[in-house]
Amino acid sequence: MKKSLFVLLAVLVVFAFPAVAQGGKESASPKIGFIGPMTGDNANYGVLSNNSAMLAVEQFNARGGIDGKIPVVLVTEDSEGVAEKGLSAIEKLSSSDKIVGLVGPVFTGVSFAVGERVQNEGIVMLSPSATHADITNIGDYVFRTVVSDGLQGEVAGTYFANVLGYKTIGVLYAKNDYSQGLYEGMSASFVANGGTITIAESFNVGDKDFKTQLTKIRSANPQAIYIPNYTAEMAQILEQASQLGMRIPFLSCDGFSNPDIYNLAGDFTDGVIYVGPAKVKESPSFAKFVADYTSKYGVGPDSFATNAFDGTNILLAAMDKVYKATGKFDRKAVRDEVAATKDYAGVSGTINFAENGDLIAYQGLYKVNKITPEYLGTFTVVDGQLVQID
């Protein structure tokens, strides 16, 4: 009897302590979350963007934090790029870490799942890279600091048709939301501008052999092939196309702006034209961000990481404003503050959100020379017409 009482007591003590410790810490430092693939084939996307979030929080805290006195804590969760893992990540961040806002998720598929959750829980979310046109339609708590595929697809389709002058394009896309969304967006505007999609082949995520699809595409003989995918697949596709002796030009999407493609595919990237982020005028803030980032992590940021830096800073600024006005971190108030962002001078350029949470934006076009992307110009589409900004 005595012994069991002792055991009970011991258990109580063990459980009580962390609860006290956590309770005390929580009121001191508000937490924000990050969700992205930190392991797996696509870990590079998550790691680069998470670096940005860490850097932004570190710099913010070094300046004094919220109201000059409260540091913010960043909690990173690994999604492995899989929706189920993303759901358990947001579960933990929301209920156990009690985050005020979320940077991420990195992938479109994960963002669809996590977006529904943050909308229900009332947590503001800023994805640096979920580009599917429908992401922001989930609800008013979902924002992004990346251009919607709607625009990317439109710019791609009109540019391929009107500037590059292609009449026929073949497509090799992956069966995921990101890839399929880009393919559909591009083909809609390409067809509207008089082009024809001669063949559209697909594959499952994780496939390594694309020779069958490429052989079929080669027989359909399009003028160019559009491959809106992630780096691991694009590297395989480019290499195998060369093994099949295909000399057709390749066109791609913002996934190509991740430098990992040059490690995986090497020289096969030569000549690829892709739609990516619009280049910011060499602003001092951008140069400083790249320098800070590179000196800290030893690698440069990709475009998504640049977006993640801006997203984190917008979230932190909103939290700061809300705290100064009310003395607490109300999730709804933080969301409203994010939505009210006006002409925010981010490192990726001036940021404004449209009514639905989309970034108001432009697109850049790049052409790869061996393994170096060269900038072709900044474009947007207004009323179906391609407009070059500079």
Binding site: D41, A43, T212, Q240, Q243
Partner: protein, 305 residues
Amino acid sequence: MGIAEFFQHLMNGLTLGGIYALIALGYTMVYGILKFINFAHGDVLMAGAFIGLFVFDWLRGSAPLGAWTIIAFFLAMVVSMAVSALLGMFIERVAYKPLRTATRLAPLLSAIGVSFILSNGAAWAFGTRSRKFNYPFDNTPITIAQVVITPHQILILAVSLVMMIALKLFVDRTRMGKAMRATSLDQPTAMLMGVNVNKVISMTFAIGSALAAVGGILIALDFKVYASMGTMTGLKAFVAAVVGGIGNISGAMFGGILLGVLETFGVAIFGIPTGLKDTIAFGVLILILLIRPEGLLGKVEKEKV
């Protein structure tokens, strides 16, 4: 579809099939002797690919493509075969031998356990990102009458063929091969006749694992090296072994090639959606089990290993 496209698909299918065949040999040899399916075989293949990658990168250093890289590649292959053979023997000794007298289900479950340990262990030790296995030679494709063939594809076909013929000769012509055939036919009797059955079984695992390592390295050149690379390839090779007639060496070769060609043609010619590519192999498996469970070559040859 033009003639050229047909032959292109055929070429792609043959090389895919060559690899399946090479790996199927390992399944079939073990099954022939122990009547048990070694589900860890695909993961030994993965281990072989990693070993090959490390040895090759270490030997090569930063040397440009040339005679040395080709020598380094084959050296790496030999080292990988040797280490994988030891790994195979070790797995047999630790996880299967103690269960030889247990129910038939026990070693099968043990094999699935070994498979998970190997693939998760590799993911933990080497990470889950794909690693590039650089070609040791210039892989610029050659065009023959509009059909494009890469030196890598020729290598796959050549190595698979050499390995299969060597194995067939070994089993048919050597003393050890004879002992294997005897063990396969009737273990207790073979033992009474003075065959060292334990040694024969160890040898079987060693050869099967060495062949898996070769398959792993050949695949890695095209599809990169990663911890889960053995899973699907292993399953497909297993199907190939069953289709050809499990326990039968010629059957494994035939089944492998047939499966590779069927997969490619299924999508390219018969219009099966690309997303269902992997289901072709398993569809064929069910069909064979229903119509001819002994496999296509199951009864043609009595010889078993």
